[in-house]
Amino acid sequence: MPENNSPHIPTTPLVEMRGICKQFLDVKAGDHVDLTIYPNEIVGLLGENGAGKTTLMKILFGLYQPDSGTIMVEGEEVSFRSPLDAIHHGIGMVHQHFNLVEHHSVVENIIIGDKKSSPRGIVDYRGAKNRIAELSERYGLEVDPSAEVWQLSVGEKQRVEILKALYRDVKLLILDEPTAVLTPQEVTKLFITLEQLVKHGLSIVFISHKLNEVMEVTNRSIILRRGKRIGEQKTSETTKEKLAAMMVGTDESFVLQKKSVEFQGEILKIDSITVKNDMGLVAVKNLSLTLNKGIILGIAGVSGNGQRELAEALGGVRHVENGRITMEGNEITNWSPANLVEAGMARIPEDRFRLGLVMEFNIAENLVMEKYQQPPFSRGLFMSWPKIMENAEKLIEEFDIRAPGARTTTHALSGGNIQKVLLARELSMDPTVVLAAQPTRGLDIGAVSFVHRLMEDEREKGKGILFISEDLDELLAVSDIIAVMYEGEIMGIVSAEEATKEKLGCLMMGIKDSSPLENQEEVRANAV
């Protein structure tokens, strides 16, 4: 592996981290990591989930203190006790989850905690506003400074976070998976901003595990795996395949082999249903959709366009106000979860920690949640623990759940293994329909391809799969047909072969591009 063939003229590095170690309990999140960042560059920090990317950057931002190792900023050794110290040294960070006060205005959020904005204890709103306007202008970070944060879209909130850092004159901006929450169009816009920032003398650390984006926007990438620095690659001299191999450690191809198995007949029919969200507002409007046997029907859409409510309504935990859902001809509208399980619906909820599993239960207990009532898992009033343990051991083997044993508490497992427990529970019920909501979110590449393979297997068995995801690459790779949701409605249905990211992106933004719309009926006809 090529080690540090730095493309830069030897100038003083902006930031140099040397031999950084950080241990959490028995996990080494940082194992003698070196990282150098020069002025005016975008450095990709690549790695699977749990590789230690965020930890390393939180150390640089003063949120964690390293167990050992040194940090130098512009040649001077520093020790940050809090983010405030880091900001003083010109380092800013935008986290995956935003830290904004929802009911404060954009200006208030940006100047919060900044003493310079309030000389002699009086807040200089006008000065702040002018400065923010100037910054947004210069870097293309459009946002209304007097709007309150709750009124903003996710993309706008992210811009506020970036402005918050720029307002403090940072020289280095750390972005932790900034594109995870954005639409393709917003991503493009973000990338233009990043180029502007670099042009004006900033450096950027771009944390991601999306290879396309890293290839598009970075100058070079540093790859981490299990807390260790694996290597560095100049973007112009590497390929996605090479980066992926370095990230996962093997040359595993994660493009699915689609086998065409023909099955006949519809299996799940959603007939103009209306569902409300927690606030009592209509989240799913008159939505109709048909799922056939042996099909993976992908549902695309920017988060918050009714996918969650649709999944919960189908999963039996949200009331359907109007319309009908039928499964193999039987109406299942507003059935209880227990009845849906019996009818043969496997449901993988979006929030696997809150809805999917009882994290305090051990693996065996979680695995029988939907079948403990049946023999042989219980007799009369009593649970049959030996049989339950047997079931768990079998499924742990079958689904490759990495755990010390069936009695391991679920929350002690890694994210990927937690999801495997949930999948094992659902798929071991031998369902006819699989409803998978964001089943790969937050998982590492290995676990993602495992989930995809399971979905493939179910399809080959002739099951119908409803696959909800916000990741277009994933949907394009896995689905046979993709339906795009926008504001609670299906904007369009396209077959996976014809779909492009641009086409889907338009539909996701509610733009009824003429071409997919014309094809819609035709595709639907083909699909049915």
């Binding site: 809805l355 599993l357 009882v358 403990y372 009593f382």
Partner: protein
């Protein structure tokens, strides 16, 4: 100096088993200060506590008698809290059980205690259970706060009982505000006579074992624990959360009701105001001290009973106010909660 709580891996089993011992020692140490403040020599005072509660056959049996209702209310709270049904109403449920016992106890159903006593036990269980069902129903139906409703119902029940005792149930013979005495066949059989040690103790121990089995080996116990840990995931997984909560409440209230039955049929033989020395509230402390483990409730209630009876002896001999027992129990609870925290976290001291 900075103190910080840092997560640590779980302790080994035997270290964990020693945690309550540390908690109790620490509590004794601190209450020693209070005893010393009264001008009493501390070591003999502590010795008197143990002598007064464990030092003789009589003292020991008195301690077990005292332990009986506290064990049952401790179990009532344990079962409820495991499902996150915050039942603070064991006191009221205890009185419901006591009222049922006082009522069935005067009905001449049979001259044999083998019939009369089981009927009374069942009636007391059902009475306590029905009372707990009401706030549970309010919770599942209207999301009413169970802490408030269960607590407030205590007063409703106690005032209802006072009204009955001042009215229709006033003892016609003595005219005192207590119910008529129960018939002989309603009296709990004695154990180890002479003395007033009765089968209520065995009922409490059996209840603890049954609660242990309920939680660990039954389908209801599985549901109950699932609902307590995560009601949303339970519902998603097909468990009827509402029904589970109602069943939990009924069992919880029933156990507290049994405590009332024991006090009427084992101790007083009639119903009188103040039959419970706040046993329902001690149940909460005992359940917490037992870390919501049914078998731990046996130990925790025994410990509370030791402090209760022993501090009376100490008070008699030394003049230290009997309220020292409240202080000791309170301190034990606090130190126990602290120590439980240390099971999962360690204190990191950093000099800055």
């Amino acid at each position: 100096m900075q103190f910080k709580l840092v997560k640590r891996p779980p302790l080994t089993l035997w270290k964990r088993a020693l945690l309550p011992v540390w908690a109790i020692l620490l509590a004794f140490l601190i209450s020693g200060i209070f005893i010393a403040v009264t001008g009493t020599n501390v070591p003999p005072a502590f010795w008197l506590i143990f002598k007064g509660s464990l030092g003789s056959r009589f003292a020991f049996l008195e301690t077990l008698i005292k332990m009986t209702p506290m064990c049952l209310t401790g179990l009532a709270v344990t079962i409820a809290f495991r499902a996150k049904f915050w039942n603070i109403g064991a006191e009221g449920q205890l009185y419901m059980g006591a009222m049922a016992a006082a009522w069935i106890g005067i009905l001449p159903l049979s001259s044999s205690p083998f019939i009369q006593v089981p009927v009374i036990i069942m009636a007391g269980f059902v009475a306590g259970g029905l009372l707990a069902l009401f706030p549970a129903w309010l919770k599942v139906k209207f999301k009413a706060d169970d802490v408030v409703t269960t607590l407030m119902l205590n007063y409703v029940v106690i005032f209802l009982m006072r009204a009955l005792l001042d009215g229709v149930w006033r003892d016609p013979i003595s005219g005192w505000p207590h119910s008529p005495s129960i018939i002989p066949s309603a009296i709990f059989p004695r154990l180890l006579p002479p003395g007033r040690f009765h089968i209520g103790f065995l009922i409490a121990i059996a209840a603890a074992v049954l609660c242990f089995i309920l939680l660990k080996y039954t389908k209801l116990g599985y549901r109950l624990r699932a609902v307590g840990f995560n009601p949303q995931a339970s519902r998603y997984g097909g468990i009827n959360v509402k029904r589970t909560l109602l069943a939990t409440a009924f069992i919880s209230g029933g156990l507290a009701g049994l405590a009332g039955v024991g006090e009427v049929c084992g101790m007083q033989f009639y119903l009188i105001d103040g039959i419970s020395s706040d046993y329902g509230y001690y149940g909460v402390a005992i359940a917490m001290l037992a870390n919501l483990q049914p078998l731990g409730v046996i130990l925790a209630s025994f410990f509370f009973a030791v402090i209760f009876t022993g501090s009376q002896t100490m008070s008699r001999y030394t003049g230290v106010p009997v309220y020292i027992s409240d202080i000791m129990q309170g301190l034990t609870l606090i130190t126990m909660l602290m120590v439980l925290l240390l099971n999962r976290y360690k204190i990191k001291i950093s000099r800055k």
